[in-house]
Symmetry: C2
Subunit: 436 residues, 2 copies
């Protein structure tokens, strides 16, 4: 084989690639730890994006870094409302590989760099942003969801190169913000013009093919009370905003059972045990123990099935809130307000992706010696943007994570190593390779 001559990788090349993953794995773990040490909570993503941009530049990728601008994306399908958040530090980073000559199929590797808050940091065994290795586990907020997978995309690329090859088609490595709250980071990549024949999102849902994912809506219910002295305003009764909000909650909660019941008719989710979760994620109300509270807010995450129309779902939510309000004289006269403050995501089913699935299955079999299985998930990922709005298969396949969004989040490094191998083989097979 001569330089620049494009090939499909043979068994020797594949072995060289997976051997390179092994050889580089200590460095991969160390780099993942570096990523975890940057607390890339919403609004603080910029420092770790510096690291990502640097890592891409060192690999010879051309680096595109830009601040997500709501004005650029607000009219696009898939946009989610931005409330009480600044995009001042919301930088996306995309590194691009261009082959000598385009011979294969192009690819986007996409992973989110943002992490969710740490629940209760004091309850972690060790601090959440000090990545700790213990046997096969790496602990840390974001270690699993999803810095290990995102790091893996760069080390998959390294493995090809260490074996003496480069992908024979353009590859975009996207490190995006905002996946955990809106998806607007990946949407901004679409707006900027990134396209490929396939997208691969190594979310930590395990080394299996995600056939489908649910959609998400975030909303808040704002309730105003009639604040008074806690002794009942010396002589008036008032209305406790917190208790009024609690009057609203059971009706919202009931949506979970009602919507799960609908899965019976769903082509993909009918066998999932419990696709819909309604999560009361945040509550706040009052400001002084002896004041009858003036205001209370419920923040809720609901899931929706693929195919559900988001406008219909919003109407159901609002009807439910107003129906509860109607059953209380004070709330009937002072109706609660529903505000959408984040995710506004449709569900997604991977379809018409036989070619990509076959390549993934072959890579998986090479690494695991077993057939690729598939699953449907009660979570959502940014893969939907590729499938729903770009007619591009969005594959989700990644390492094993325990306690995502919980305490002592951890990622299984054995699975990270194996998934990195699968990604490297996918990259080689999907794009083809050219000798460097």
């Amino acid at each position: 084989m001569t330089k620049g001559h494009d090939v499909m990788p043979d068994e020797d090349v594949k072995q060289a690639i997976t051997a390179a993953v092994d050889r580089n794995f200590d460095a991969q773990v160390a780099f993942t730890q570096k990523m975890v040490r940057c607390p890339s909570l919403r609004g603080q993503e910029h420092t770790v994006q510096d690291l990502m941009a640097q890592a891409m530049a060192r690999r010879g990728l051309s680096v595109d870094r830009w601040k997500v601008d709501v004005n650029d994306i607000k009219d696009m399908p898939g946009f989610a409302p931005v409330v009480d958040a600044s995009y001042d530090n919301a930088w996306n980073v995309v590194g691009t590989w261009e082959p000598e000559k385009i011979a294969g199929r192009s690819l986007i590797f996409n992973g989110h760099i943002d992490v969710v808050p740490c629940s209760d940091p004091d309850r972690w065994t060790t601090p959440p942003f000090e990545p700790r290795l213990d046997g096969k586990w790496m602990y840390g907020r974001g270690a699993g969801d999803m810095k290990a997978g995102l790091a893996g995309t760069l080390f998959a690329f390294d493995a090809l190169r260490d074996a003496g090859y480069g992908p024979a088609a353009p590859v975009h490595f996207q490190s995006v913000v905002e996946e955990e709250c809106t998806g607007n980071g990946t949407l901004a990549c679409l707006q900027r013009g990134y396209r490929a024949d396939c997208a691969f999102v190594p979310e930590p849902l395990g080394p299996q093919l995600m056939r489908a994912e649910i959609g998400l809506i975030w909303f808040r219910v704002h309730v105003d009370g009639d604040p008074q002295h806690a002794s009942a305003g010396f002589n008036q009764v008032g209305a406790n905003a917190i208790e009024k909000a609690l009057h609203i909650w059971p009706g919202i909660k009931a949506l979970e059972a009602e919507w799960n019941a609908r899965k019976a008719d769903h082509p993909v989710y009918r066998n999932h045990p419990h696709p819909i979760r309604v999560n009361l994620g945040e509550i706040s109300g009052g400001e002084w123990t002896s004041n009858v509270p003036a205001a209370a807010v419920l923040s809720v995450r609901v899931a929706v099935l693929p195919g559900d129309d988001l406008a219909d779902i919003r109407r159901e939510i609002e009807d439910r809130v107003q129906r509860a309000a109607q059953s209380d004289p004070y709330l009937a006269a002072h109706p609660p307000r529903v505000e959408y403050h984040g995710h506004m995501a449709e569900g997604y089913v991977l379809e018409n992706a036989a070619e990509a699935e076959a390549v993934l299955a072959e890579g998986h079999r090479s690494v695991y010696g077993a057939d690729l299985t598939e699953e449907v998930t009660s979570a959502a990922t940014d893969a939907r943007f590729f499938g729903l709005y770009q007619n591009t298969p969005g594959l989700v396949y990644g390492p094993i994570c325990e306690q995502p969004h919980g305490i002592d989040e951890r990622v299984d490094l054995d699975s990270v190593r194996a998934v990195t191998k699968t990604m490297a083989l996918f990259l080689a097979e999907w794009c083809g390779v050219e000798r460097l």
Copy 2:
């Protein structure tokens, strides 16, 4: 009458005193507005205390100003726990009048300078710390509760002096912090050695004698959840700390009805319609809409009847919380914690105060042309400290306030004027007067 000759004030003197209240009333209103403009929320009391110290010094009172120190008072009866609060700005101010010769009975005027938060400032007609006059009303946070009454004590003193007299006994004008959360400001006055034959607290409960007030306990219930991804941890269920806290709340709420039922046997409260209020004053929980919440906190104010033992009541609260926890497998294994974070106040009944009551009744009759009526209240005041721990009658009698602790708090300036007259007459009659 010659200078320094002590007298009981005759009708002419009384008329001169009440005429002086009228003459000074514009200045009194302006001074009260100045007080309201200082937002003396907990932790920010120092600026208005500067104003108070200056106002006392200008009147020739000797001014004692000191920072409340928890170590000085923490072992005294009546002390309430200080949690999440700094006393860095918690300055008490006491101005003392000493007569030429002590001939009458000494007096403490006591009022609190701290105010509660503003509920929702945006819902006020005008900003809460910009005191607005509209007809007989002055609007503003703290205007009624209780800056108008506290200002009135100084202008009652002015009225005597403008009529050409001074009190014939020591008088202490106490401007205290911490009434709204602990009572530790007045407790610190006791610790510092202030004593008198009577205490007078012009809380805005109206121009009537408060025969009794309830006690208060503040507590928090801390609930730890098992945080997870809102999709149910990808594969685990978790425990939502907010929903677990909501499981605890109904049992606490039920105490209100149970404790109110006990009033039937109470010598003082049996005719009060609803002495006990259980107020869920604050709630917080969660930090991210798509995380199953790690923690939630309820902050509750309960009232207790005079005579109730606080240790017994605490045990009832804790039993109630634990009983609710036992009915839920997760909470049974992860019991909530009860924390006392403020008021720990016994109820108080004014007794053995015939002399002081008679003097108050006489002054009230002079001003209102009607008999003094009495009331029992579902609120608490600092008067308890004098009665319970100093064997000193603690009179509560003050102006009319609407919306205390609420939106558009306002005080009736006609009542402020009248109550100032009653206080001036009480001062003259209780202490006697000496010609200046």
